[in-house]
Each structure stands twice: as C-alpha cells, then as structure tokens.
Amino acid sequence: MPANETVEELNLDDYQYDFVTKDEPVYKAEKGLSEDVVRQISYHKEEPEWMLDYRLNALEIFNSKPMPDWGADLSDLNLDEIYFYLRPADRMERSWDDVDDEIKETFERLGIPEAERETLAGVGAQYESEMVYHSLKEQWEEQGVVFESIEDGLQMYPDLFKEHFSTVIPPNDNKFAALNSAVWSGGSFVYIPKGVDVDIPLQAYFRVNAEQMGQFERTLIIAEEGSKAHYIEGCTAPVYSTESFHSGVIEIVVKENAHFQYTTIQNWANNMFNLVTQRAKVHSNAKMEWLDGNLGSKATMKYPSCFLVGEGAHGSVLSVAYAGDGQHQDTGGKVIHAAPNTTSQITSKSISKGTGRSSYRGLCQVYEGAENSKSNVECDALLLSETSRTDTYPYIDIDENQATIGHEATVSKVGEEQLFYLMSRGLDEEEAMAMIVRGFIEPIAKKLPLEYAIELNRLIELEMEGSVG
C-alpha cells in the first residue's frame, strides 16, 4: 500500500461542470483590451457620463501598474487572447420561463432554479458578461430589500449607487481591481434596509461558457444599520485548452450593528485564472464574515478583507482551498483594525494533492489608536502527497501597543497510521482518505447552510453520508 497509490486512486479532481452550451451571443467585442472595448461596454449599458469617465480613468491606472511579481504564476495569462465583453442576451429576465432556452438549460443542469424554489430568498444568474436572470421573492421585496443586477442598480438607484460605488475598493487598489473598474459587467446590487433580517440566503451564480472568455463581475452590497443577510456566489465553467480569466470586485458596506455573511464556492475549471478583490468596510459593532471556498481554477489570488472602521466591529475570514494537480491556490485574508475594540479571526485550511500548491497569504494590520484590538490567525495545511506543496506568508503590521495578535500555523500529512486506523475499521483506502479530508474541512462545512455544506462536500467529490449529526 504505497502512499502515492492511495492518493492517485482518489478522484478528487474529476470536474463535473465540463459541458458547453451552444448559443449565439447578441454581441461580442473583439479580443483584447482597448479603450474602444471599454467605450463599447459603457455604450451597451447606456451608462451616465461619470461612469464612462470612471472606467477610462481605471483603464489608465491598469495600464500604469505592473503585473504582480508575487503570488501565483500569471505568465500564461495573455490578455490579448481574452474576450472582455460578450453579451449573451438582449435583456435580463425575471422569470426562468423567459430566459433563452439554451442558457436556461445550463442553469438547470447546475440545479439553480430548483435551489431557488426551495431554499433561497433571491437568485441572480450571470452568463458570460451579463446577468441573464435576477429575481427576489416578494416577501423581501415588500420589506424594501433590493437585489438587482449591478447595471439595474445603477439605473434604478443612481444616488445610492454613486454614494457607495468604489468607496471600499478604489480603482488604484491593485492592478486587477483597476482592470475590473474599467471593464466591469454583471454582478449584483444589493441593499438591505435598516433592521431587516433576510434569514435565507441570496445567491448569485456565475457561469462562463465561451472559450477565452473574461468575466468581470462587480458587486456592491449595502447592509443598513441592524440588518442581517447572507449572500452566496457559485462559479463554474467548461474546461478549455486555452486560458480563461475571471476578475471580480466585491464591495460591501456593513453599517452599525449589521451582520453580513458572504460565501463563495468557487469551482472554476482548471484553465481559469481567478484574480478577485473582495473587501468589506465594517462600521461600529457590525459583523462581517467571509466564507471563501476555492476548489477550482488554474491559479487563484484572492484575499477577502475586512476594513474595521467602527469601534467594536468584528471581521472574520474562513477560507478553505483545495489545490489539485497543476493548481495554485494563493488565498487567505486581510484584516485592518482602524478603530478601538475591534476583533478579527482568520481561519485558513488548505488541502494540496498531486502537484497542487496552496499558499496562505494574509495581512493583519492595526492602526495607531485602535486600542484593545484583538486578532487571531490560524492556518492549517493538509498535504495528500509528497509532491504537493504549501507555504505560509503572514504579514503583520502593528502600530498600536494595546493590541493582542495571535498566529498559529500547522502542516500535516495524511499519515500511514491514520489511514490504517480507518481501514482497520472496514473503510477502503479511498473512503479513509475522503473521511480525513472531510474531517479537515468540517469547521468550514458546519458554518454553511446544510445545502451548501452538501455542495461543498460534493464538489470535492466526497460523500455527504452522515457527516452532519
């Protein structure tokens, strides 16, 4: 029973979402990035002048910034070969019956309409560059909740939109935030009014279907004082031999005493570069929770952040990454303590298999004056093979004496003794390995609503059987 054999027999890497739908886009911009492409996007969206100016300025920033020389290897990412804008349908629909048959079929195969009926408050579905479907249950609409495509948000709530847009992540934050700011298309606009508790999740689903596609969704979420909600995003794409590109920007404003959870279950195909900026500004006594599951993609660089600006704010990042053969998950979290009595927790768990590589990269920063801030970072890595690799890059920057910072990191290998123990109870090698992995991610899975815990487990090809209760 050589250890390598155990690992090779696991089919954790089988990708179930590798199917292509044949459809005719309404509009397809030429390959590559140019001012012309940016202007076309803005034109198609019938945007106000300020937004076009914002985009063109962002394009300049993008062009002026160098590619990052840290993190994942991006040398195979050739932007000249990427389609930056592909409009799949003339308009967005509010009933699945009206969605184009081919596109609807895609989402049905992914189980989205069914999930919406059963367990979700609202659903958005993006296909290539645009939201093709968006709907919110009446109950929440009546309470003033807004859940629209980002484009409709801009058209329908121009003042609210402009007040918050790009205030959490400015275009000059990083090269890919600048890129998204120039070419953004699709994503959600969410507004949760004061005191409203949306007790079942809102979900957005992102699908890339075409080859050499770039998807640049932009999401803006405003949770008013004392409100509570949970937003979930899922992403898949077919496997192509050429590279695809996804670079989203998610901005969240969590006002006083509000509580917001944002969950990502990212399962892009393994030819996808996934470079995402996600950040929340968290006000007094508010709570922000990022739950970030990165299972797919060729390379992911993604560090959900909490900017704790109000006294007593709390931020947490719970991150699970799975790096299979040839994958690099460079993930983690950032917490910035800018006010007194703020608390944060980063928990990162990674699993690496074959030649997979996972990196934890995190930042904990405490500003002067952010007295009695507390932060704790825990990262655990599990290696399933001799050829897999894991690294930890924790950055800590403290300018306040009255702060408590903790950091713990562990690396474990699935050991022969552990496997033998489980096999001596009747589990075969594959079941034994799956059980160890499932146990490893249990602290993350139990933070998810049951359906998503199931999805997470299914995505890494493990049986759900009995893992709750």
Binding site: Q418, Y421, L422, M423, S424, G426, S467
Partner: protein
Amino acid sequence: MADKLLEVRDLHVTVEDEDIEILKGVDLEVDHGEIHALMGPNGSGKSTLAKLISGHPSFIASRGEVLYEGDDVLEMEPDERARAGVFMAFQYPSEIPGVSISNFLRTAINAGRDEEDEISVFDFRKRLKDALELLDMDESFADRYVNDGFSGGEKKRNEILQMAVLQPTLALLDETDSGLDIDALKVVADGVNRIGDQNQDLGVLLITHYQRILNYIEPDRVHVMIDGKIVESGGPELAEQLEEQGYDWLREEKEPVSA
C-alpha cells in the same frame, strides 16, 4: 464449525525496509468463544503479531501463514479483514479531527455494503446507544471527534466502544489495559465480557504486560512471548505464576533450546 477462528503457523515477521526479524516462528490457535491472553516483556513482539494480523502496512510476513476462519488473511487488505470480522483495539489510536465517533462508526458499518443494505438510522442509533450504556459512557461522547483531545483512558474506552458497535468475531486487544486506572479498567473489562456474552462466537486475543486485567477478563489460555516466540502456554494459573516470578525463569528455561 470446521475452521478454527484463528490459526497462526510458523509465522516470521519483519519490518518493512529493515532486515530485523521481530517474530521468529509463532504458532497460535484461537477458537470461537475463547479468550487467549498473550503476555511477555516489552519488545517481545506481542503488538507486532496483532498489527500483522490486522494488516498494518509496516509489517511483512516473510514466512508462515495466518488463517482466519480458514481464509489466508495475508492476502487480504486491512479493510477486507475488518469487514470479515477482525478487529484490533489499538494501543495508540489515531486522532481524526472533524469526524464524529457516530459518523465514523456508521460509515464503518456501511463500508462495503450495498446502498440497500445500509444500516437504518434507527438501528444504528440503537446499537450505538446500547454500546455506550455497556461502557457506562454519556451519549454526548459519540458526538466528539474521534480521539481528538481524548485522555489516554478515553481513547481506550473508545476502542472498546467501537468493538461493541462493530461486533467483530475476532478481537485483538493491544494493551487495552495500559494507562487505565482501576475503575476504568473494570468498566473496560466488563464491557469486553459483556460483548463476549452477547456473541458466543467471539474470540479474543488479549495482549498485556500485566496480570491485573486477567482478574476481570478470565482467559481460557495464557501464552508467553519472549523474543519473537511463544515460549510457554498454559491455563490461567500461568498468569499468576508470572505475576509472582516474572519472566526470568522462562528466559533461563528457554535459553538452551534456542541456543
């Protein structure tokens, strides 16, 4: 029943990647319903025998055979042996963080079963509850992660709990008594006895340094292993003799034979 439960014949065992022979020709028979105690000083090879029988990958049988109900277990994977009814209570059980005992045991019972043959939730709960009662354990114990942060005593108890739930035919208890205080020892021993009462076919090979546990689990046969060989076998009185005289008299007695 024509076949013996366990037959070990001229068994020689080496450690993987090393030339050291640990077992140097062991013969042993355990029949259904029998309790055998295997005693001996540290490093004599007792645990190696249990690990070899249950299929630990570090040990290799270089000569001899091990038959379980007539089948050659050396040809079977560890999980196949387990599903056939072989159980080892580990001396040092592994920790499996994030996996609850109940989830672990249900998966173990259902391992190798077709979906339609899987144990019902109701039947499983009952079996688990009975086993917990048998060992005087709180129901909440089954919600804990397998051996994660357990005390030495809790780990040993958990091993016997698994034995009660999985209902094996051959149980290899590898120093289950070590690290237990007298109260815990009584509970564990009582548990083993009652599992035996419920399953008259159960054969037990109990590995221990000390005669103490044999006050509570009465063996049919006692064997003494020294330097990779069984040098003496007898009834329960042999254990008492060892308690009084130690192992030295056996070493001296055997010296001329092995020389």
